[in-house]
Amino acid sequence: MPRDSIKYRTWKRFSRNRAALLGLLILVSLAILAIGAPWIAPYHYAEGDVRYNFAPPSREHWLGCDYMGRDIFSRLIYGTRVSLTIAFVSAITSFLIGISYGIVSGYFGGTVDNLMMRFVDIAWGFPTLLLIILMMVFFKSSFARVTPGTFAGTLSAIDRALGGMFFICIGIGLTAWLMIARLARGMTLAVRERDFVEASRACGATGIHIIRKHLLPNIIGPCIVQVTLQIPTFILYEAFLSFIGLGVDPPTPSWGMMINEGYIAMRSYIHVFLAPALALSITILAFNFVGDGLRDALDPRWQR
């Protein structure tokens, strides 16, 4: 990387922020755990032993066992897969929808912009969590009995292969892009009037070229920051949906579901609750650190 490039300077500022580096380290470790789960986890996540129901931490089961005698440590490791998948797939979905919507709206301006932004204003009033709950019930019961081979059958197969995560990601992605769209549109409006865009247009550049070469590079940074700052919310949605039983399908281990199971048994067996609660909090903390770090690195004015 050349020393005077924006990327290099951003990385310099980011890496000077110790909290952000710590967050990045945690996320990288979580990603390694998620990918290597079958080799790292001592047991399979669905494998229970009735003799160990609610067993306290011991040498065989480092964090004890849950109500079905399943190893909590192994389930936590497999659970990183759910949280990280939700985080990244929802982030990418909402990022792609939001940024294309925002750029189109801002670039064309006028009536198009007006109509598109009124739609965003209207969708803004929607209580997100309620919409996601409705969508989840819709997906879960519509795709319960579909014929394989059709489009619906394929979607259902993907969802089953992912342990019920696919539809959660769609639900979150479809509701979370509004903020990105507003940001992308606002920045497009600002960049569109700059001289270099004018110059490019004077040279006969097409709309696609201007969007790709001039608009995108200038607005992508803040949009990435915005979506990173939203990721904790996505993880929370999944955890809450699994908490009330609308999330992933058992026995897929989701931290939200594990928190619910632990919460029910909390009076006598607090360890069943504490382990996934701590894992969830640390992951969200890491995403917050990285998001704040990115924001400060890209926009020095915001520095603390």
């Binding site: 009124r118 009033g125 969590l129 919409l131 904790p232 955890a239 908490f243 928190i259 969200i284 650190f289």
Partner: protein, 305 residues
């Protein structure tokens, strides 16, 4: 100003229209109806039941009938609970949600702003680092973690407060804390940043130069200007708290509309789903409107035409 308020008010009509039609379509698109769960009902009886609740009408007519009722505050019958109307259910379930939500909202603003001011005044000292560490942890601990943790500490072990349910003021404490904790943290961080920005302004230096005490400078000059950006966070925070109350009501078994909502979706109790969604949406819209108006009142530089 007035024309702005009226225009914003009129804008809520299309919002309510879109929210209601999306909810209506989505909920009717869910397979199964309110009667599909019950066993061994002869088809004629199901037909009669559907006739009674007008579920055999075309969808657009059902929608118009519902919205017509909604405008007159007649939310229709509950299909699951044959003897109760949605108005009855609302009268019973709304107060806990409203009380919990408003207490948490004002508590979050109050404590958050105070913490933010303390942090900013003592910027880069141990007090500041302490407050901000707590705030970062608060932002990162979700409701489903804080709630059970508070129950475990204060209800199960110390036995100071009731574990769950609703009724006495003591029942409000833990759920309100759970609900407001992340927003206390958010307000604290935002207030601190806003104040630090304002502290560098010329008029603060002037205030100090003319010999105003530090306390008066902060209260009269800094806080007033720093609160403007803080108000913008209040709208999203309110929306977050009111939908977050669904989570907290589940954890603490509070008989509010959040807890009831999931049940009614599972039962396909159409009038209840519609009414609750619209009421949530209405609260959020009104709060955003209020925030925008407050914004204009506090900051004389902003003029809406």
């Amino acid at each position: 100003m007035w024309s702005y308020i009226i225009r914003r008010f009129l804008l809520t009509i299309p919002v309510i229209f879109v929210v209601s039609s999306v909810t209506f379509l989505l909920m009717h698109a869910i397979p199964g109806g309110p009667f599909s769960e019950e066993k061994a009902l002869p088809p004629e009886i199901i037909k009669n039941l559907e006739k009674k609740y007008h579920l055999d009408d075309p969808l657009w007519k059902q929608y118009i009938d519902y919205m017509w009722g909604f405008m007159r505050f007649d939310f229709g019958p509950s299909i699951t609970y044959k003897t109760r109307t949605v108005n009855d259910i609302l009268a019973q379930q709304w107060p806990p949600t409203a009380i919990l939500g408003s207490i948490s909202f004002f508590f979050a603003i109050l404590v958050g702003v105070v913490l933010g001011v303390i942090s900013a005044v003592h910027a880069n000292t141990l007090i500041d680092y302490g407050c901000m560490t707590v705030a970062v942890i608060g932002v990162s601990m979700p409701n489903i973690v804080i709630g059970p943790l508070l129950i475990w500490i204060f209800a199960l072990n110390l036995k100071w407060l009731p574990v769950a349910r609703w009724g006495t003021p003591a029942h409000v404490v833990l759920p309100a804390l759970t609900l407001s904790a992340p927003y206390i943290a958010r307000f604290a961080r935002f207030t601190r940043a806003a104040i630090l920005e304002v502290l560098n302004e010329e008029y603060v230096r002037t205030a100090r130069a003319k010999g105003l005490s530090e306390r008066l400078t902060i209260i009269r000059h800094v806080l007033r200007n720093a609160l403007i950006p803080v108000i913008t966070v209040a709208g999203p925070a309110f929306a977050g708290i009111i939908t977050g109350s669904m989570v907290v009501e589940q954890i603490f078994a509070i008989p509010g509309i959040g807890k009831y909502y999931v049940t009614s979706v599972n039962n396909r109790d159409y009038p209840v789903i519609m009414t609750f969604t619209l009421i949530f949406a209405f609260c959020i819209i009104m709060m955003n409107l209020l925030v925008d108006i407050l914004y204009a009142i506090i900051d004389p530089r902003i003029r809406y035409t």
